[in-house]
Symmetry: C2
Amino acid sequence: MKSYCKFESALDILVGKWKSVILLQLISNGIMRFSELQRAIPDINKKMLTQQLRELEYNDIVYRKVYSQIPPKVEYSISDYGKGLSTVLQALNDWGEAHSEHMIELYGADRSGN
Amino acid sequence: MKSYCKFESALDILVGKWKSVILLQLISNGIMRFSELQRAIPDINKKMLTQQLRELEYNDIVYRKVYSQIPPKVEYSISDYGKGLSTVLQALNDWGEAHSEHMIELYGADRSGN
DNA sequence: CAGGATCCTCGCGGATACTG
DNA sequence: CAGTATCCGCGAGGATCCTG
């Protein structure tokens, strides 16, 4: 039997109400400014956006580039290291897709709200 | 660019303070009774153990076998379907391991409490 | 033995206002 | 523009007691 002892810590890093959406945006759009992220995710507020971005930055998943100018300009992107997540994300995504099918088989209607 | 739209729902299923520990136990020990799980995870209480098990059961990750007898006997195990998670778990675990190394490189000491 | 029912706490997430 | 600072509600998680 393999190790399986650090997947909990891995989970923690992805957990947070907005982490996934943010990641999704940055993955598909590349570099994005703070305000672009705000517009792309209308239901989030600045505090949450900042907070979740900081956590992702702390874990070196996203890269934060600050232009020291006025008005300020900050760009976010998936860091080189963060790109290593893609395998995991893909695995999770594939399983998630299969699972929603499975749930439909088991319980009937689709309640995913997708 | 691949889809990446269901990995959020996949995450939800693994999230919960005790899901990972429970899964770990069931993966490595196979079939376990309720009380065995309790003993294996001393810090959990019955309510939480029951609740998290029910959620996993609802998602068809764990199988619950009830022996109608007195005193009651209930056995839990990873369902056949749930075994399909192993790939994902392994991916998460591998990344988690690499990541904790990476964090040490970045910030020095190991704060994982492992 | 394997829960169910109740009550409570604590911190995540959110609304709003202010600032360099 | 890209944030901080404060305040607050709500729900996941927990302690405790009861039951078939």
